[in-house]
């Protein structure tokens, strides 16, 4: 099973050096790409019924790639520019979906987000949007 912490820790350790961060991003993208089909298979039974519709419950198994950055208060993106990673828990669901699609297609540029979004299926994106958009109602 893919561990989200591994990518985070790796990134943190290498934060001080620029080139290794790029390498870490690429390696992380490889890990994610490898992990995504497995995750998709795991929830295929649940996802098939609501094709195209997000399933917040199914997303619980898919948020690993998000929490390593978006669930750490004060965490900053370090490449290519430094700024606080946005809060996404409680954000508009459809906006999350559009943003992930835009990173995947290149309409938004960010190396890490492009790599992660590129590893997601349409169903993964719909599930994550449902999860993060709905999450504030669950509290």
């Amino acid at each position: 099973m893919y561990s989200p912490c591994r990518f985070t820790e790796m990134t943190k350790q290498m934060k001080a050096r620029r080139l290794p961060v790029v390498v870490a991003t690429l390696v992380g993208a490889g890990l994610l790409a490898a992990a995504a089909p497995a995750a998709a298979q795991g929830v295929a039974g649940q996802g098939a019924a609501g094709q195209g519709k997000g399933d917040a419950k199914a997303a619980v198994q898919k948020i690993g790639a998000c929490t390593g950055c978006h669930s750490i208060p004060g965490y900053r993106a370090s490449y290519p520019m430094v700024y606080s990673v946005p809060m996404i828990h409680g954000q508009s669901g459809k906006y999350i979906e559009n943003a992930l699609n835009a990173y995947r297609s290149g309409d938004r540029s960010h190396p890490t987000m492009k790599a992660i979004a590129g590893s997601l299926t349409d169903q993964d994106i719909a599930d994550l949007a449902a999860y993060y958009g709905k999450s504030q109602e669950n509290k």
């Binding site: 208060p73 990673v85 809060m87 409680g90 835009a102 309409d107 540029s109 999450s135």
Partner: protein
């Protein structure tokens, strides 16, 4: 030039420190009321008056979001690093100061987003 002695060096460091403090204090702070005015005129129609109630779920909540992330986003739309017809056009009308003021304003409003899992 004669190398500086320990006393001169610490004096130099002190003066540098004072100068840096003054320049930091004198740098123009974001204008929150200008940000509020702009937010009301340009943003509220879509993102909601409180920045938390967008009229369409494809529009993001802004209130309480990190100030530096809001600045980054608006600059990205302005420079077409993020391609979006509506926000691209809106952001291109904003000056550097407008962006700083808007980000300062929205980041200080109470928000509904968090870093929770």
């Amino acid at each position: 030039m004669k190398p500086l002695g320990p006393a001169s060096r610490s004096l130099f460091q002190l003066l540098t420190g004072v100068a840096l403090t003054i320049s930091a204090a004198a740098s123009p702070a974001a204008d929150l009321s200008a940000g509020e005015k702009l937010a009301t005129e340009r943003c509220a129609a879509c993102h909601g008056k409180d920045g938390n109630t967008p009229i369409d779920p494809s529009y993001p909540r802004l209130s309480g979001q990190h100030e530096d992330y809001l600045i980054h986003s608006l600059r990205a739309y302005k420079q077409d690093e993020r391609k979006n017809a509506i926000m691209g056009a809106q952001a291109k009308m904003l000056s550097r100061d407008d962006i700083l003021n808007l980000a300062a304003y929205y980041s200080r409003l109470p928000g509904k987003m968090s870093h929770a899992r």
